[in-house]
């Protein structure tokens, strides 16, 4: 008993001590990063994003350059530091993390998933804190607006797929469209009246909605059979990879797909990641459409991708991050650092506040050249949180993700 009591006291002391540990803050440090969701459904995306942010920040600290293709320099006397915590995709936890990071002097934030976005968006606006976001539902668009995306919102992505599909529609009847989407806030962000209105406007017949678990534990045979029975031509959804892979696999087995006996195209917005999908599924995944996705990591002709590749080679050659959201991390870091740099142009280091960074930083980002990682250069402003103006559409063909089109952003929310 004596031993256990000693153990308890020791444990308590360690806990208290760790609580008090100050994160060593040197003179003139600015923080980037924010909350991460390293556990939960978005863990794999989040881990890659974190790696991207860390590499980019290291690059800026070492070279004081913003990117190889840019002339602007980051102020030499200021060091950047990545500060992050794992929120486990729990809103309440994200809240206390946000408080902690804010108290540490962080001037930018980040949103790691839809639950976090929903919980923090009002608070961010209240604090006039600008944030980058990995989640991109239409819920971000309704004011207040201080969360900035670097790929189109999901509704715009799906609208782009609808545009693209309609362009190649040959039959005289109206094409039939249905939602086949994840059953969480992200997946359901499609179901807004504006989306339906747009589909009606461009000449679709809307059939209905079917839900697939965020990560499927059984093939969605039922849902797909239903789609088949209703004669659906195009299924739209917001779905992450662990949801879409079994779905497409089951489609093939049921003989559904653009290259199958029953012709149906399945298109999802970005979190379905065409490149990741193609790699995992191979030819089995042929016909899968994904809008808003980034270029594959091996597309070294693109300066931005080359930059990513160089950084990975330089900083962790043996532990290459192969997930495409590494590019997302680069973009998030670029946006955050750019906002800080722009704000520093207008106010001295000591005068920086979240509000200053939001108004003099984020709002002033115009045509930020991302080396073509994002489909267009990023532009933000008051009321414009969607950074890109065009949406890239990829399709899996012969086991490879191929760019099949580019559609304009319609601003559906």
């Amino acid at each position: 008993m004596g031993k256990t009591r000693f153990g308890f006291v020791a444990l308590l002391i360690v806990m208290v001590a760790l609580f008090m540990v100050p994160i060593g803050a040197q003179a003139k440090t600015l923080y980037v990063g924010g909350t991460q969701s390293l556990t939960g459904a978005f863990a794999e995306d989040s881990a890659a994003v974190l790696a991207g942010i860390q590499d980019y920040v290291r690059y800026v600290n070492e070279t004081k350059m913003m990117a190889p293709w840019r002339k602007e320099k980051f102020p030499a006397d200021i060091t950047l530091e990545v500060l992050w915590r794992d929120d486990e995709l729990k809103p309440a936890k994200a809240l206390s993390i946000y408080e902690e990071l804010k108290a540490k002097g962080m001037l930018v934030a980040r949103i790691s998933g839809s639950p976090i976005a929903l919980a923090l968006k009002d608070r961010l606006w209240e604090d006039q804190m600008g944030a980058t976001s990995m989640a991109s539902g239409s819920y971000l668009m309704t004011p207040p607006q201080s969360i900035f995306t670097y790929y189109p919102i999901y509704t715009d992505s799906c609208a782009a797929i609808a545009d693209w599909f309609k362009a190649s529609w040959k039959e005289s009847r109206k094409p039939r469209v249905a939602y086949l989407t994840a059953d969480n806030a992200m997946g359901k962000s499609l179901e807004i009246p504006a989306m339906r209105a747009y589909l009606d406007k461009i000449g679709y017949e809307f059939v209905g909605t079917q839900y697939v678990p965020l990560i499927a534990t059984s093939p969605p045979t039922t849902q797909l059979t239903w789609l088949k029975q209703k004669g659906v031509d195009l299924a739209l959804g917001v779905m992450i990879n662990p949801g879409s892979q079994p779905t497409v696999k089951e489609m093939v087995r049921l003989g559904m797909g653009p290259f199958q006996p029953y012709k149906m195209t399945f298109g999802v917005a970005l979190p379905g990641h065409a490149a990741v999908f193609a790699e995992a599924m191979g030819k089995l995944g042929d016909g899968y459409v994904c809008a808003g996705s980034f270029r594959p990591l091996d597309d070294l002709a693109t300066p931005g991708i080359k930059f990513c590749d160089d950084l990975q080679k330089k900083y962790h050659p043996d532990k290459r991050v192969t997930h495409i959201m590494y590019e997302g991390g680069m973009l998030e870091a670029m946006v955050q650092v750019e906002a800080l740099r722009l704000a520093l142009e207008k106010a001295p280091y000591e005068k920086l506040t979240p509000k200053v960074v939001l108004e003099q930083g984020f709002y002033r980002i115009k045509n930020l050249n991302t080396g073509d990682i994002s489909s267009t250069p990023l532009t933000y402003g008051k009321g414009d949180i969607e950074g890109v103006d065009e949406i890239r559409i990829d399709q899996v063909r012969n086991g490879k993700s191929v760019k099949v089109g580019l559609a304009p952003v319609h601003g559906i929310y």
């Binding site: 939960g40 794999e44 990560i215 059984s218 093939p219 045979t221 892979q245 003989g255 995992a280 089995l284």
Partner: protein, 295 residues
């Protein structure tokens, strides 16, 4: 009609896998009265193991299954020895808490070994479409069905006709009596955890073949709980029956009712609704033994 039959067939196959996972749960519950929250996590680990043996190591299917079973045996032993054994004689709730902690550790371990990434292995089972008329039967589900039936039969025989089976049933009734007769309760517990791990891991490989290995695979455990309770906690036959019934109901409900509802997702809660209704009328599940209550 075709639509309906399709739903029933899919549900049947799906339900069989639920049943398989549920059995692991029943065995532990029977032997040691432990409500094992971590059962779903065994499934998750199984999914990852399947991936490891099939993809990076490139073993054939049978060898992968075998290797996974070996790992499961080891896992069961370790879990019993280091987490459950120290708690013998302690309140049941402490043991339940232990399984919660175990679940946490297993998910952490999985993240550590396999990372956060979603691991797909689609080559495990042939993607053939078996067609009967216009009804298509997923071959994976069929194989799942066969494997489940084999496992379940073996377990039934084990319980009914072997010495260790008798010891397991006796331990389930009264730990002290069994100990006073010289039966090593720890061995019985170890065997039950090993069986639970094996069953979970096999279930995990089957499910992993369908949807890939991922942390969320652990959530299947919840459905298995519903199956167990619907069937009656101490009835293996009940678990099978309930698994199939729930699988079917879930699919039929999703097929017909989901499109009518604004938010969908009925398939996820329907088993629970059915379970509650059944429990109100049959408090010990469909096939559970009523406890002999005396005063």
């Amino acid at each position: 009609m075709t639509f309906f039959i399709q739903l029933v067939v899919t549900g049947f196959a799906q339900g069989m896998v639920y049943a398989l996972i549920a059995i692991g749960f029943v065995i532990i519950l029977k032997c040691s009265e432990v409500f094992n929250i971590a059962q779903g996590h065994f499934v998750m680990i199984g999914g990852y193991l399947g991936y490891t043996f099939l993809v990076p190591l490139g073993l054939p299917v049978w060898a992968s299954l075998l290797a996974a079973v070996v790992v499961a045996v080891f896992m069961g032993l370790v879990i019993e020895r280091f987490t459950l054994r120290p708690l013998i004689g302690q309140p049941v709730l402490a043991v339940i808490m232990m399984t919660i902690a175990l679940a946490t550790v297993l998910s952490g371990l999985a993240t550590l070994i396999w990372g956060a990434e979603y691991k797909a292995y689609h080559g495990l089972l042939p993607t053939i479409i078996l067609k009967v008329g216009s009804i298509s039967i997923p071959s994976e589900s069929l194989i799942g069905l066969i494997v489940s039936v084999i496992c379940v039969t073996l377990l039934m025989l084990l319980f009914r006709y072997t010495k260790i089976g008798l010891a397991m049933r006796a331990t389930a009734e009264d730990l002290q009596v069994v100990q006073s007769l010289g039966i090593k309760a720890t061995t019985v517990y170890a065997v039950s955890w090993i069986i639970a791990c094996i069953v979970g891991v096999i279930g995990g490989i089957l499910l992993g073949g369908i949807s890939g290995a991922n942390m969320v695979l652990a959530d299947i455990g919840l459905k298995a709980f519903a199956v167990v309770l619907l069937g009656g906690v101490n009835s293996i036959g009940g678990a099978i029956f309930a698994g199939i019934i729930l699988g079917m109901l879930e699919n039929v409900a999703a097929g017909y009712l989901d499109p009518l509802l604004p938010g969908g997702g009925l398939a996820q809660v329907f088993p629970f609704i059915v379970m509650i209704i059944v429990l109100i009328f049959k408090p010990h599940g469909l096939f559970g033994l009523a406890t002999i209550e005396r005063i």
